[in-house]
Amino acid sequence: MESYLVLFVFSLVAIAVALLVPNINLITNRFLKIDKKEEGKYEPYECGIPRIAPLNRRYFAFFYVLALVFLLFDLETVFLFPWAVAFRKLGVLGVVEAFLFVGILLIGFLYALFKGALKWE
């Protein structure tokens, strides 16, 4: 219990450090003479030329399929971690059950594989 208290106090300290370090420039910039009239430097970078078209926040549909497959397997790892810790206590039955579980998900993985979910197009 005590260790979690230490962790909690530390997380507050870490938030303070994490907020301070990236924002030091806000403090130092008060002492510098900064030319704010130069508009060009506030433009997002694009090869040194004025921007041709605005940013289009779209990306390949492939990733959404991949993310779905990933979610499935990530849940599997969440279920299996408690099993891994208690491996020795569970005996033979627990092991067989867990590997059956992995086996079923492997079938799912093979299905996704042959359906072409992992194929780049």
């Binding site: 979690y4 870490a14 938030i15 450090v17 506030y42």
Partner: protein, 319 residues
Amino acid sequence: MSHNFLSLLFIVGLMLVAVPPITYLERKVLGHMQQRPGPMVVGPHGILQPLADAIKLIFKEDIIPKGADRLLFMIAPSFSVFAALLAASVVPIGFINAVPMKSALLFVMAMSAISIYALFLAGYSSNDKYSFLAGMRAAAQVLGYELPMGFALMGVVILFGSFDFREIVRWQELHGWGILYQPLAFLIFLIMMVAEVGRPPFDLPEGESELVGGFHTEYSGMRFAAFFFGEYINIIVLSLVVSLLFFGGWSGPFVDKFPVLGVIYQLLKAGFFVFLTFWLRATFPRYRFDQMLKIMWKVFLPLSILNLFIAALEAYVVG
């Protein structure tokens, strides 16, 4: 209680103090591997280079690009530092153990996994095409490395029967180093570690030769540096984890009499893996994006599941 806070101070201090020399060492090692001297101008053999860099970064103008999501843009670097510091806090170094946690390994994994949000948020909020592509790549990289890493660690956990680093090291003192039992898990974990911290050959979110600077294209000053603080702290933390899981952590000769030796052993073991990341950077070309996903899903994921069976067998034999 006071012991805890003192160790915390030590570990966090070590992490923050170690980052500038490590950046110097990296440039020096890379330089000599490429037959050039590396930084030479500032101080003897360029040893004051990190100091010069720090002064330069602190006095840079803080620029937020037009059209950027200001809140996310400002939070992203903080997020990187925060997650890295929290991950560092639970990792024991020798007898110095700030937060003796039962599920420390899980906590380190969780914290280093969420540090990728920093890259994604930075890329997404910058309103820049290169940053956006890099942010998406960072997100997709998680989809690649997270599973093999999880399964590789699961094999290790089956063998050791605990998430607690102290018990893991105690097990290895009795039975020998973890790498003797789990060489496959070691190999997979090492590669996934490189992918996790986004170092070459898996530095897709940065990709300075194809995406300008990747996710930090639009960042300047200490905001820019904060990403590298996070990245290097993550490298140190994961190197320490490798030394704990596979190389006996602080165990070694005469540690019983002089506990300080344990700290030195562990830092040496971890230091080798920090060096290894520099070495990889000098040796391998960058993976292409689809190649990275393909190798993660079709090679390392099946291998790490195979390793689960190996670990289960070993747990029966070793007991």
